[in-house]
Symmetry: C2
Subunit: 146 residues, 2 copies
Amino acid sequence: MQDHRSNLFRVFNEIGIIHQLATAELAQRLPDGVHPSQFGLLSNLSRLGDGKTPKDLARAFQVPKASMTNSLMQLEKRGLIRVEVHPDDARKKLVYITDAGRKVFVDTVAAMEGPIAEIAADIDGLVDILPVLERLRIKMDAARDG
Amino acid sequence: MQDHRSNLFRVFNEIGIIHQLATAELAQRLPDGVHPSQFGLLSNLSRLGDGKTPKDLARAFQVPKASMTNSLMQLEKRGLIRVEVHPDDARKKLVYITDAGRKVFVDTVAAMEGPIAEIAADIDGLVDILPVLERLRIKMDAARDG
DNA sequence: CATATATAATTCGATATCGAACTAATCAAG
DNA sequence: CTTGATTAGTTCGATATCGAATTATATATG
């Protein structure tokens, strides 16, 4: 029992360390002035579609609105996204990724592919943990709402 | 092949989201003014032993020295650690956790146990991914040094 | 329509992160 | 010893995060 509990803690501990190391790798490959959290936005807009509101994005990334405002301003300043007022509701805005933004995303993904593949080659069963991670994320996400 | 690559990206993506959600849960249960990253320090000093230098700790957590200086100052200000000059080398310092620091650690772990157990109960095979995560972390850690 | 309430986003202030420059102490070479 | 290089830690400045207050717009109610 004690072992099982401490193993659970270790799972989260390892996840934290891996995340930090992965973020550091990513940061090295991003253009100057683009923060890893901002790359996450470009990834979402590029892969899952743009035209979302800042509120949508804040919820998707589980960050406060104020944080999202800041991240979007940085990306807009660099021309990687475009922000428009919602045509039907002037309280809202709509966020679009630009060609420059797509390029940053694509180039960065390409730059990460080598290192990731190299690491993964040595780790047997790495993709096998994906379903477990997905279920865990979904469960934690749901627990947060309630 | 394409699928395999994108699954690798998804593994890291899921890990990032889980880490963020877990950190948010932890933050809610920490005493006011204690940041999750500072809890990590208390955990390390409590579980793995204290009397380490700031340099040691910066390396263990893969953060710059300047970040560690700041974190240690916050913990010391709140009386959760004690910092002394190294008796044999006045350039160095030695960091010790205090009783108050241990109490924060123990209490917070206790407060996290319920939620973690509840989540884990629903996720089949959660602890089974621990060995894979460990190997991944070790591999990435090694890749960073070189 | 007028007013109250709700919602989306920004602003503000406080804290965290961290690269680069700096200070202090030790070590190495002569 | 003395001097140069190295190491540990801090300071400083710039950016990120984010809770609380604020602004602007929209919706609901009388």
